[in-house]
Symmetry: D2
Subunit: 335 residues, 4 copies
Amino acid sequence: MTTIAILGATGYTALELIKILLRHPNAVITALTSREDTRSVGTVHPSLSGRLDLSLENLLPKEIANRSECVFSCLPHTASAKIVPELLSYGIKVIDLSADYRLDTAEIFETWYAEKHPDPDRLGKVPYGLPELFRNQIVGVNLVANPGCYPTSAILPLTPLIKTGFIEPSDIIIDSKSGVSGAGRKPKLSTLYPECNESISPYSVGTHRHTPEIEQIITTATGQKTTVIFTPHLTPMDRGILSTIYSKPLRPVVQNELLATLRHFYRNEPFVKIVEHLPSTKDVSGTNFVHITVRVVGNRIITVSAIDNLIKGASGAAVQNFNLMFNYPETTALI
Amino acid sequence: MTTIAILGATGYTALELIKILLRHPNAVITALTSREDTRSVGTVHPSLSGRLDLSLENLLPKEIANRSECVFSCLPHTASAKIVPELLSYGIKVIDLSADYRLDTAEIFETWYAEKHPDPDRLGKVPYGLPELFRNQIVGVNLVANPGCYPTSAILPLTPLIKTGFIEPSDIIIDSKSGVSGAGRKPKLSTLYPECNESISPYSVGTHRHTPEIEQIITTATGQKTTVIFTPHLTPMDRGILSTIYSKPLRPVVQNELLATLRHFYRNEPFVKIVEHLPSTKDVSGTNFVHITVRVVGNRIITVSAIDNLIKGASGAAVQNFNLMFNYPETTALI
Amino acid sequence: MTTIAILGATGYTALELIKILLRHPNAVITALTSREDTRSVGTVHPSLSGRLDLSLENLLPKEIANRSECVFSCLPHTASAKIVPELLSYGIKVIDLSADYRLDTAEIFETWYAEKHPDPDRLGKVPYGLPELFRNQIVGVNLVANPGCYPTSAILPLTPLIKTGFIEPSDIIIDSKSGVSGAGRKPKLSTLYPECNESISPYSVGTHRHTPEIEQIITTATGQKTTVIFTPHLTPMDRGILSTIYSKPLRPVVQNELLATLRHFYRNEPFVKIVEHLPSTKDVSGTNFVHITVRVVGNRIITVSAIDNLIKGASGAAVQNFNLMFNYPETTALI
Amino acid sequence: MTTIAILGATGYTALELIKILLRHPNAVITALTSREDTRSVGTVHPSLSGRLDLSLENLLPKEIANRSECVFSCLPHTASAKIVPELLSYGIKVIDLSADYRLDTAEIFETWYAEKHPDPDRLGKVPYGLPELFRNQIVGVNLVANPGCYPTSAILPLTPLIKTGFIEPSDIIIDSKSGVSGAGRKPKLSTLYPECNESISPYSVGTHRHTPEIEQIITTATGQKTTVIFTPHLTPMDRGILSTIYSKPLRPVVQNELLATLRHFYRNEPFVKIVEHLPSTKDVSGTNFVHITVRVVGNRIITVSAIDNLIKGASGAAVQNFNLMFNYPETTALI
């Protein structure tokens, strides 16, 4: 049994994490933190009423370490990297769901996040928690950078096709559609119900912080310098990301060849399903699965992927990493 | 042509009002106020891009009066009654969309709104702007209290049946379901998209401020002391109020008798449609219409009404009142 | 390990059932039937892609019995009771999710369902599968009538308060709001997306078939003749039932007394949570939990309950019954 | 006053058309047809209860001509072109909302629609009813091919930028997101509420029939052979189309240059708004407006457009064409 603390427990990511961990036979949640909120978790998240008898606490790293062997950090970027070094120093394992340890250099981080990185020396050494591509680096390790939601939806379909030389890696367009939960639980006008409902719109065109993450991870995973245009859209639904990805074939291809390549690449992966039909976000809602298909249209390869942004795009992946870090079966609590 | 100022122009009610007035052949909007926001109206409400060349301004009553012959106040309660007396003193006509002039006494106001009323002497003398019941009092008048959204949906179906002696007025249950726009445009957790979407819940059970308004207006309109239990629900949709109303017949009745009574009562009303089918909020969405039907089930009369909370429940009714106050045809810009 | 057949596997109830059973350590699905559809289950339900390697089959009762020890029937009413007797004759255990075995007499069935009952002699002898009230009758039994979704949401909050004498059992109004999945997966105009979205409306007012079920089960459970007025509403969401229930106290009561009674009654129930806040359907979405609260307003007790119509209102309850019938821990696969 | 018949009056397009025409001071609806439905229009479309006293009729072309001077055909493709020639022979003016007269040759029609064209000789001679590009051809004419919804959203932003030489016309990717009403009112599984809600998915990838329409009209309007990849997505909302369009600049450009070009091109158009912010479908919902913006990202120009698929994408455009054909002010009933 592993004792677990969740930092920043008021948001949607933490809520999903708690729900998954409550089903996990080898995990017990022993602390939930918040800088401001000290209410019971059932008050903060009414769906947990009567299911978990803990209140949120404003704890010091030392106190967290006294209570738990593993920390899931749902803190915002830079807040996470400010506390992670001390937690690691106590021998705690950490899964960081923020963006703090995903990028390889402080320079890129600071360019996109416009803040100084609090723990720059560790960058480039922390495994990126996408087990389908980096499992060996994750098993047993002490710190994992949990992937961003959009990156997961883009990296998984693109990597095999770039690696096997089907796709020109410098001319890729990723048109992504995300449910509103991806924008977090802090009240703001742009995610108010009557603003989002019955409406779809692009945002952060050309400036979204997941762009360098997608480029870096695919480049690392394939050995081919990859650049992308990434356009996220706010979609009137709670959850889900659908990415429709347009790329150029390096040579004439047909759909079946591409499907076969994807199937082979992910043949042993429990959470990746290569499907023939066009996927919907609903098909994977509430699960850790990724559905991927591919089409050839005119002079383009169109890959389509669907994930649940809060599960495979955040908390499900985090538990998948937890399982690998603690040598539990990888699918525990996730199927 | 009547010049118009809208006070508190950042919210949903003001937006609907502007859209209706832009179609009105006798109205021209000359001022939009906000205490804090000075952006162009097309920035505050992107749906108005290129349609109205005004910016929001923080104006004094005197300045408002210099620019307009009619004021629609979309200010919050008490803020409205603080400015209305001065506006009236300049000879301006005012339609107040807040709750400030709806209740008959400062005592009741202060009981339910927990604030001191800024203009208590005028209470009890301002016509309640439901033309279907109080048209004669509204024509040509200088100040109208625009009805609340829930009250409109409850008063219209109940009044004829109480007045004609079908319904016991002291034992009425109003179960109402409202779209989220009714909660306003100020960001708060309870109206965030991922909190409201895919969810319905009651709120303010036994404590909603529209309760005394419903009771007072029906009592006034029917001459029979009416008390109600009113339970509003937040429903995952932008707009619309459906009220399902349970009352006790004073004598055995059948559906057709009740339908005939309603049809006769509203036979000359352009916006009230007595229908045989069970109404949906969608049927009246974006319109100033009210759909009403009635059923007899067991020992209860069940009346059902549907309105658009922002139109017949707010801005459409306001323009209906404006038309009557300025002697324009009542349906102008509303059909 | 128990082998399981699901009859009528194309609908939403069957889909949820499959998802739950895939997590059940003691269940293995061995047959899925449909009279017309012979596609793979992953084609019929894309969310099951790669998760269950079965196709739908048109099987005879004998064939079903050869393949399974337990049958979940998701067939429509009367279709179920036509096949259940033969299945039972082979020693199979059956959980019937249709309405066929819920009512006590063929007469009542035929009044409300307007069809002749195919297996009238068994009526009145089949336990009603609400373990919170009838657990002892369910353990180890061969046939269970799985409750209707609306009845579950009404019976659970009302029974303790009627049984303990708080509520007048002959004057109860149940105003229920259900997500659209409750209307099934067969295409029809009334459940088309653009008809339901952004709209709420009542339906089957005074005529819904769950009315006699609610009355009979509460009467049985409390020993007090109960009659209700039941008004269902179609709500723009996938799942969830919220029931707002208005009843008359038999003596003066306060909220805490009622909450305490409910808490005591359900103190050992893993799936019933008595909460102080007003519940939302989202709080229980995707779970087998019921959230219940109560308020006293004027001369009425208002009880509010929230369930997931497809889980606690159908497939979750079915697995709860399965666990009891086969002596597995009752919460297996459900928490 | 012009008398109007609407053919195929049961669907969403006809409903919107009726709502707009009821506000039109120069139009009176005198006939509504359906091959099968003979109910009152208020029964078929409950939102029209008490607003239009007509029933649907199965009328011959001769009968239609006896009743009306103008016909809006909302019939399916090929059904429309079977009746249009006879209607024209009676001197009636026709706005055809089907795809029958949009494409220039029967060959292309038959390739994409897989049916023989019933009136091939007229193809290539019927004006395409996009007044912003083809106004001169529409004024006073007898037959107009009303544009498709997706094509409107793609042609308007692309045409000025291709015509002025900013965009390479052979390498364009159109990623469009449409509300569900675009799929029509005929019940089918794919547009059932619980299938579409909380889900986004692409469909008809590489095969959608609006592809040749977009290519042909832009080619005609710009004189430059245009080819596109067009990917539509079903989005969980009633209405709206958002098109995110990726194209290659023919020379280095900056955003302001492109915005200025678009503004100049549409400077006199009442319904086209070039905006700086990223548009949302909600901003134009229920209106005949188009909102367009543009960004330059990496080596791509990204144009974004938003329309209401049922208004500017169908019935609003149809009334705009009607106004031009009958010499009414173009914006009548549309602002």
